[in-house]
């Protein structure tokens, strides 16, 4: 836990002895890492993920059969690419940390893959959905348990077209995440060919006031406003739509699937569409087990949409270390062929890019302050109607 040699040469013998005394005749300690946004607008998702990863470690340490005692090193990427590269470097550069579950924000995940590759540091992405993270390069170090944004945008375009909407205005944040959403959604929509995009607006994550963009959109008068971005600006844009009396459907992505979105908008959140890959936590194979254990820990945050994936990623890392020992190279090799491994999010199979193939997509609509699966919602049954819904 401390670089004894160096501390001694640093003339701090006493301190070392004091600290070393703690570890006498314990299991070998092994460090594993977690990186996610613990501060900033999407902090809840990051903290939910951290708690879930922490849960995986706690349960493992409680298990007497475990070979090692695990210590979780947590770093905050603030959902900013530059910070992410810094903390990723910090973690990958620390030889004592064997592997990590990393990143909720695609902008940070895509920025760090080269760093992980440079340092030969195995990671499993637990929340970021941009395809490029696994597919741009073929890095043996990088894996992902959750699916990519491609399928969710197909499902999204599908739903919009089937509901009979004709015109869509796109707002996306100008990180790779937002651009990716814009790209895949536009493609999917064009493929179906029923609705057309009347305008595309790039906005920056720090932006507070969107009335300018929305006023232009109002002039274009679309049926649907598609939003490819994360909760904070999602909340702002939705409430400012209301200010300008824009009635269009607010059609968002996995980026806003978070209780913070509903808290942030109150009644205005009603009728917002959102999509997420994988089944909703309750319906996951291990969902019930996960929720029980999670609540037992009395964390002050819910696991949020991707908590289960963070748990699965961390659990897979721990399994691998138990199997091959605390050695980065061996861990990378073992993660090289993951086929049908059981996890609380179902069977996990990594393709040659380390991407878990999650075909299933969950469609959400916000109803009475809750994310409700579309097919079970009163909107699908026709009991309620979205603006302009036939």
């Amino acid at each position: 836990m401390i670089r004894t040699g160096k501390i001694i040469t640093a003339g701090l013998m006493a301190a070392v002895l004091a600290l070393a005394a703690g570890d006498v005749n314990a299991k070998d300690k092994v460090k594993v890492g977690f990186i996610g946004p613990l501060t900033g607008g999407v902090a809840v998702n990051g903290i939910g993920g951290r708690n879930s990863a922490d849960l995986a470690v706690k349960l493992r340490n409680a298990d007497s059969k475990a070979k090692y005692e695990y210590e979780l090193v947590v770093l905050d990427d603030e959902c900013k690419p530059n910070v992410a590269v810094q903390v990723a470097t910090k973690m990958a550069a620390d030889k004592d940390i064997i592997a990590a579950a990393t990143h909720y924000c695609s902008a940070t995940a895509i920025a760090t893959v080269d760093t992980y590759h440079k340092f030969g540091f195995p990671v499993i992405v637990w929340g970021a959905v941009l395809p490029d993270i696994t597919y741009r390069n073929k890095y043996a170090e990088v894996h992902r348990v959750n699916g990519t944004m491609i399928n969710q945008n197909d499902a999204n375009a599908d739903l919009i077209s089937n509901l009979g909407y004709k015109t869509v205005a796109v707002i996306h944040d100008t990180t790779d995440y937002g651009k990716g959403h814009n790209e895949y959604f536009s493609k999917a929509l064009a493929k179906i060919g029923k609705a057309k995009i009347v305008g595309t607006f790039g906005v920056t994550a720090e932006q507070q006031d969107f009335t300018a963009e929305l006023t232009q959109i109002k002039a274009l008068n679309p049926d649907v406003i598609y939003f490819g971005g994360l909760t904070p600006i999602g909340v702002r844009i939705r409430s400012q739509m209301d200010k300008l009396g824009i009635k269009a459907v607010f059609d968002a992505t996995s980026g806003i699937v978070s209780d913070a979105y509903i808290q942030g908008l109150g009644p205005l959140a009603e009728g917002t569409l959102a999509f997420r890959e994988g089944a909703s936590t309750e319906k996951l194979p291990g969902g019930k087990f996960f929720m029980e254990k999670y609540n037992a820990q009395k964390y002050d945050n819910p696991p949020e949409a991707y908590g289960a994936f963070a748990y699965a990623a961390m659990d897979m890392i721990l399994n691998t270390i138990e199997k091959v020992g605390p050695d980065r190279k061996k861990v990378i090799d073992d993660l090289g062929h993951v086929i049908d491994r059981d996890s609380i999010v179902g069977k996990i199979t990594f393709d040659d890019h380390g991407q878990n193939t999650v075909a299933m997509i969950t469609k959400y609509v916000i109803q009475d302050g809750k994310f409700v699966e579309w097919d079970e919602s009163e909107y699908a049954s026709g009991k309620r109607k979205l603006p302009g819904q036939k």
Partner: protein, 390 residues
């Protein structure tokens, strides 16, 4: 100070207090960098503060500063040795080396700022922007051209100076707070521009290819027989050279008629112009040289960090540079080094309270401004030649 200088007139201060101070500081720094256990770090910090206070109380600090005044060249040499020994000590510890490199390059940047603000009194609240211009220069040139990377560093500096000269007219015409707003506006403009303009990667930022000099690739670890050195060693050496160079330039500048001119125009433009001083010429000189130095540091830092994004170069970052200047003691290069270590290393080491580090850091600066407004190491009276006697 005064009576110290009076002593200095007749007797040369001995070398050993400075040497002792330097040695103590080095050992302490090594200890701080090596320590990982939070309790240990916190007690180290407490001990450090206590030590400094007692030293000040026993007037040991004055003696040290006097021997620095009289034996600066010798002590400068020892300082370089100290820096190298730190590097040797952590020769394979990537992250610590990166941290120290950050200190070195931030110091270079603040040296540039010091010429502008500390000497000429030309405000620059866009330091981070000019740093960023350098970084983006190396990002673009390294990726798309074959220009030798040492030349790229120079180009980074030149570009920073050139783009900075766009501000010359308003900077020269305005005074005080009005001058402040010019650079503040530029800082915000610059960051927003990077964010909304896709050619330079937008908010996502860009990867920066590593440095190569005469076919020597900086991003490969160095294997000498059995010992392996972190690849950061390469950058460490170059950064140290850059710092020494900048330090010498700034020192000679201060200890020349030019330094005198800059002080004169800062303190009383009208009086200075009544004694033949060309205010405009010297303001321009200071502003351009300063930005040039900042730009070079930025260009190298871009290559070290291997990644640039708008969020690295915000107004807040410029403020950090300025607060380093104030913490250290405006106009005192040695103070800058100490202040940079505090500002860069301490928050990094206090990771367990990572959520609170900005808060604490801000409180620290407030305390210093209240109780030691002239900075930790106030600038001593100008000595044109260290140890010179009539």
């Amino acid at each position: 100070m005064a009576e110290g200088a009076a002593k200095g007139e007749n007797a040369r201060a001995p070398l050993w207090p400075g040497l002792a101070a330097l040695a103590a500081a080095t050992v302490y720094l090594v200890a701080l960098l090596a320590a990982e256990n939070q309790a240990l770090i916190i007690s180290l910090l407490a001990a450090g503060i206590a030590a400094v206070l007692t030293a000040a109380w026993l007037r040991l600090l004055d003696r040290a500063s006097h021997s620095f005044m009289d034996h600066e060249d010798a002590l400068g040499g020892f300082a370089v040795l100290a820096a190298l020994s730190v590097a040797v000590f952590f020769h394979e510890d990537h992250f610590v080396l990166l941290l120290v490199i950050t200190v070195l390059l931030y110091t270079v940047a603040t040296l540039g700022l010091n010429i502008q603000f500390g000497y000429a009194g030309v405000l620059n609240f866009a330091g981070a922007s000019f740093f960023g211009i350098g970084a983006y220069t190396s990002a673009v040139l390294n990726a798309h051209t074959a220009i030798p990377h040492l030349v790229v560093l120079a180009i980074g500096g030149v570009l920073a100076a050139l783009i900075g000269s766009l501000l010359l007219l308003p900077v020269l015409r305005t005074r005080g707070h009005y001058a402040a707003v010019v650079t503040i506006a530029f800082a915000l403009l610059f960051k927003t521009f990077l964010e909304v303009n896709d050619v330079l990667g937008g908010p996502q930022g860009m990867q920066v290819p590593g440095m190569k000099i005469f076919g020597w690739t900086f991003n490969d670890n160095i294997e000498i027989g059995s010992i392996s050195l972190s690849f950061y060693m390469n950058y460490y050496v170059v950064s140290l050279l850059l710092l020494v160079g900048a330090f010498v330039v700034v020192r000679r500048l201060e200890r020349s008629w030019i330094g005198l001119n800059l002080d004169a125009l800062r303190l009383d433009e009208t009086a200075a112009s009544c004694f033949g001083l060309d205010v405009v010429r010297w303001k321009i000189t200071a502003f351009l040289i300063g930005n040039f130095i900042i730009g070079i540091a930025g260009a190298l830092f871009g290559m070290v960090g291997s990644f640039v994004a708008p969020n690295n170069y915000t107004f807040a970052d410029s403020l950090i540079l300025v607060s380093i200047l104030l913490l250290g003691g405006i106009g005192n290069p040695w103070g800058l080094i100490v202040a940079t270590v505090i500002v860069v290393v301490v928050p990094e080491k206090l990771q367990t309270i990572q959520e609170y580090r900005f808060l604490l850091y801000a409180l620290l600066v407030i305390a210093v401004l209240l109780f030691r407004p002239e900075g930790l190491l106030p600038r001593p009276i100008r000595r044109y030649f260290p140890g010179w006697r009539p």
